[in-house]
Point group: C2
Chain length 188, copies 2
Amino acid sequence: MTLNNDHVILGVDPGTTVLGYGMIKVVNRQPVFLDMGVLTFKKEKDHFARINAIFNFITSVIKQYGVKEMAIESPFYGENIQSMLKLGRAQGAAITAALQCGIAVTEYAPRAVKLSVTGNGNASKEQVAGLLQHLLKYKNKPETLDATDGLAIALCHFYQGRKTVFSKGCRDWKEFLAKHPERIKTGR
Amino acid sequence: MTLNNDHVILGVDPGTTVLGYGMIKVVNRQPVFLDMGVLTFKKEKDHFARINAIFNFITSVIKQYGVKEMAIESPFYGENIQSMLKLGRAQGAAITAALQCGIAVTEYAPRAVKLSVTGNGNASKEQVAGLLQHLLKYKNKPETLDATDGLAIALCHFYQGRKTVFSKGCRDWKEFLAKHPERIKTGR
């Protein structure tokens, strides 16, 4: 459904100390910048309170902006086993929030996000942020690169959806699904 | 609040292919067996669908049995980084379900659970299961040891709560909290 008009895509990079997010809206089959930012956990010192804050935040963003799809970054490596467990819990809270709202979730490896947005899987965060501003023409640069990370994931999901649709010779998802009913699956 | 009468404690061992759970009820400051079992994910082949199933299951168990506290096992090592991320997501869904119900969550290392229940941090799963049946006197042995893992976590949480209260010279949590108001903290 990524190419439907007015469709809002949320990209999330949930960490254990900060969560970056970005949103794009599909207008005339093109991605348009909607919003981005970070959720920091200064107030919530307790690990569990942070997890709960992530669930509440993602739920409220989905409802406020009418988000239709969510994409998250899924790293393949981490500092250590314990940090990956904690990262997984943070991701689990964000994923659950989306699924409980009936929103489909897709995950992308960091390299896939960079490749999709910049054409270079090894691009730096600064390069990604620079290209995003060029492509989506937002005025105010965010204070941290966590926000652009989230936005990059949303844009990556849009590109992947468009690639899937166009590669099958369809104009949009409606036509694609009409031609490929076997690709329809429910989130639950 | 672990020693309050009729208090239900839920122990959960959430994995990515099976979730073990067990519950005890506090009666006259003693733990009484309530229920245990496993949630398997044969139907949900998709990783995200499993995460959602965990959230829904924990939410329904909490409501059905009037659970007041939840304890989970928190491993310190795993096969690899990817398996820990997926385990973390499964745990995140279970933790979020409890927090969204306003239930406090406590985590215990596997060794701490074994030590608390059997007096031996290196006890086998079979030894833990055997001692649980002796202590809690339930009739039907569960088919898998995942269920007794969950029950052991619930019993560990009960013992830890009792130890905290008794070590301070109090009869129960009510008296403990009256004497130590600084220990009251909210989950959100």
